[in-house]
């Protein structure tokens, strides 16, 4: 094919235009997926501003549900908001914080121990550690259910917390491990040589190094715990203990969803959104400052 300069220029322009088209298409694909992902959430938020009991039924704008949620009382209908909503919210948070704390302590100690093991032992324990992560929630739940029945332990708050520690700790181990590999292995011994007790060496020398890993393990544990349904379902027993997940499940099976759940989750979502924006904004600012210093 014979090419004159003008046709080459045309070709370049054509290619550039097709690249732009491609970029726009790629972008719109992402936004399309996000639209699908966010549609139900937008629906929850929109319908938190109407007071209809039935989800999906618009009966005019009002912040009544928010008022109900905070006062626990529906002024118009003159009924109390289902107290189990608050109980389950409380227990969701309690279980998450307690389980995540235990998981972080247990997992951090375990990570230090595993890191100092010989290859063979380390492999074996890492395999055990991966089981709760691979196991689907229903199997973790049922296996623990059988254990508690077998041991004659009545199911309730304690068993749920134990169960949550089971599936949270592996993630703490995995978050702390990379920090250990980055750490100078000799500083612990150095602290001991300089007269620190093992506990002091742990607290004053190792903790500051491991802290970021522990924190991300803790946050991940909280997230996993709050989001869990399957494990809680099988380990909570029939004593009336509920987390938000099991409360919603029971509610949905009864047919009607407690309307105050809509404002509650709208608020949770917006809080997370704001937190995320702040974190991103700070990270961007720090990156900018770092670049400016250079």
């Amino acid at each position: 094919m014979k090419q004159t300069p003008t046709s080459a220029q045309l070709e370049a322009r054509r290619r550039e235009r097709s690249l732009t088209v491609k970029r726009v298409l790629a972008q719109s694909y992402l936004w399309f997926l996000l639209l699908l992902l966010y549609a139900p959430i937008v629906l929850i938020i929109v319908f938190s501003f109407t007071k209809s009991k039935v989800f999906g039924n618009w009966t005019g704008f009002t912040v009544q549900l928010y008022e109900n949620l905070f006062t626990g009382y529906d002024r118009v209908a003159q009924v109390h908001v289902d107290p189990n909503l608050y109980h389950s919210l409380f227990y969701t948070l309690l279980i998450a914080v307690v389980a995540a704390t235990f998981a972080t302590l247990l997992g951090t100690l375990a990570a230090i121990g595993i890191y100092n093991m010989r290859q063979k032992q380390r492999k074996a324990i890492q395999f055990l550690n991966s089981i709760p992560m691979i196991n689907p929630d229903i199997l973790t739940g049922i296996s623990l259910f059988l254990l508690f029945v077998f041991l004659g332990i009545s199911r309730g708050l304690t068993t749920v917390i134990i169960a949550h520690v089971v599936f949270c700790t592996p993630y703490v181990v995995l978050s702390v491990m990379p920090r250990l590999t980055k750490m100078n292995p000799n500083i612990y011994e150095a602290a001991l040589d300089l007269g620190a007790t093992p506990f002091q060496a742990l607290r004053k020398v190792m903790m500051p190094e491991l802290w970021p890993g522990m924190l991300s393990g803790f946050i991940l544990s909280i997230t996993l715990s709050i989001d869990d349904f399957g494990v809680t379902f099988f380990t909570k027993g029939s004593g009336g203990l509920d987390t938000l997940s099991t409360f919603i499940y029971a509610d949905a099976r009864k047919g009607g969803l407690t309307p105050e759940l809509r404002p509650l989750f709208s608020l949770i979502f917006l809080t997370m959104l704001v937190l995320l924006i702040i974190i991103n904004w700070r990270a961007a600012r720090q990156a900018k400052q770092g670049a400016a210093k250079k």
Partner: protein, 266 residues
């Protein structure tokens, strides 16, 4: 006392509490599933539970149907998720981190509530709740689990390899099939596992999405323990063991990449 001190000093021992914990709350419970699966309510050895499963056409059909749904969900998630991860990882996007966070953010709303909202969405548009709704809802719930590990591997990929391939004369398609795709396989494996495992075992999502019209294998297990009473536990344990084997096989083929990438989700 001195012995104790040396024990504590050798940091290997710090893992002991966790090892004990794992044995008691992970290994022993799994052993119990096996024990219950092979015994009758009186505690005698039997194969009756498995025979009951294979003789119940409905149960076997549910099992096969669940595997098919999980497989289909995984394939759809891969087809939808790979391009999304690829686009996000491609540098031409100025804010890939924000995009990645946007895909994770919905997971902060309880998945049951999101599922219920999806059902309402279907109702509003007059879409009947059936197989289509089930597949949509499953993909909806687990798509982020496919996107994230693939995005992670693509992002960590050495971009100079792509340039090298271009310089050596590969065209766009060859670069993709011979360089990018093979290098993103670990992420694809993790994604497949992270989508397949929960979909094959879920029970609540299917119940809510189809208003109990469609029963999945997870629901069969749940019913055996929930409504069946003591007599059904052994049968439920046998079903659980079958699922455990499926999970074991899947993770065996997908090696252990999954753990790392899920840890990276936050």
């Amino acid at each position: 006392m001195n012995k104790l001190a040396t024990l504590i000093n050798s940091r290997r021992t710090w893992a002991w509490p966790y090892v004990l914990f794992l044995v008691l709350f992970v290994v022993l419970p799994l052993v119990l599933i096996v024990v219950y699966a092979f015994t009758d309510p009186q505690g005698h050895f039997t194969l009756k539970n498995f025979i009951q499963f294979f003789n119940t056409t409905e149960a076997v059909n549910t099992f096969i149907y669940s595997l098919a749904i999980a497989l289909l969900t995984t394939i759809i998630c891969l087809l939808l998720g790979y391009p999304a991860a690829y686009i996000m990882a491609a540098a031409e996007l100025k804010t890939p981190a924000v995009m990645a966070m946007l895909f994770i953010l919905p997971m902060w709303i309880n998945f049951l509530l999101r599922t219920i909202a999806t059902v309402e969405l279907f109702n509003m548009f007059g879409i009947p709740l059936g197989e289509g709704a089930l597949l949509y809802g499953m993909c909806y719930d687990f798509l982020p689990f496919m996107i994230y590990p693939i995005y992670n591997t693509l992002q960590k990929m050495d971009k100079s390899l792509i340039e090298a391939a271009h310089d050596l004369g590969a065209n766009g398609r060859e670069v993709f099939t011979k360089v990018i795709l093979p290098l993103s396989m670990p992420g694809i494996y993790s994604g497949i596992i992270m989508v397949f495992m929960p979909t094959v075992s879920t029970f609540a999502i299917a119940e809510l999405l189809t208003r109990n019209k469609i029963t999945l294998f997870g629901s069969l297990i749940q019913r055996a323990f929930g409504e069946g009473g003591l007599q059904m536990w052994n049968y439920g344990a046998a079903l659980s063991l079958i699922m455990l084997i499926i999970i074991g096989l899947t993770s065996f083929f997908g090696n252990n990449e999954e753990a790392d990438s899920r840890g990276g989700i936050l």
